[in-house]
Amino acid sequence: MIKRVSVLLLLLAVGAIFATLLAGYEADPELNLTARYYADRTAADIGAANIVTAIVVTYRGLDTLGEVTVLFLSAAILGLVLAQGRKREQARRERVPAGELLTTGTRILAPLIMLLGVHVFVNGHLTPGGGFQGGAIVASGVLLLLLADPVKHFAHGLIAAVESLAGIFYVAIGLLGLLLAGGFLDNRFLPTGELGALFSAGAIPLIYSLIGLKVGAEFSAILADLSDTEEL
């Protein structure tokens, strides 16, 4: 009883803090200095129609590299931890096959979901979304495949190769920017082209496609590891 009351009190206190924050909030009538810089200069400097992508991939590209690295590390550690459980079970037990509804639905939906994911990360510099979102969508397509056919063995080697190659090319493109343009991950060593076209914004479509492949492969690796491991 005391526990419940204290939890309720804590919730109310947190709610009160947020309420005061909300009460004191007023939307700025105009963009602040940093935001205005990005809003004014992105189209001319970077050539990307989506300002968020320009910031994520170019202005703050190094942070994105860090994020991808963190994701890679967590996927690798998860694989390492789960691999010990996998060694013990050599004789795989029979798994219950998925239902008719799931298998048929997956056959229709999985290609569409993957196509949507690819579309999202290829068009990252034009429309909302990009590598992370597209990669996550691709991985949910992979998860659907895993759910529909739990017996099938997933190609770990392929996933690992896609992930590693995407990572290597990502860093290589960053270094090309350092050599041929203004700095690490500078996108302007390729022509920026016409604003709003698919092949524009220099190397951003390339970089974001690589990020999309890498994130998708990382999430898929995590899911495939989980699926291949019997309960520890």
Binding site: V96, S140, L226, E231
Partner: protein, 89 residues
Amino acid sequence: MGMLMTAMTVLLCIAMIVAAFVAIAGKSLPIAILSAGLVSLVASVLFLVLASPDVAMTEAAIGSGLTTFLFFFVLGRVRKGEHDGGEHD
């Protein structure tokens, strides 16, 4: 923000809080997972209302899509472990 927009935002917030309560207090695990996904889904709609479609996509793809899937996946494995755990250990 217009009057209609404000009303919609408040409604979405209430829906989010209700879904979160169901996720915590509900007895059934699948329903709890679904309502946790619903919290993310409503949050992504809210992000869209607040004019940040990129964040909305991330929330929808990871928060309500992948996480919900993953929870169901793990729930299935845990249940299976419960069922044949007795004969095994």
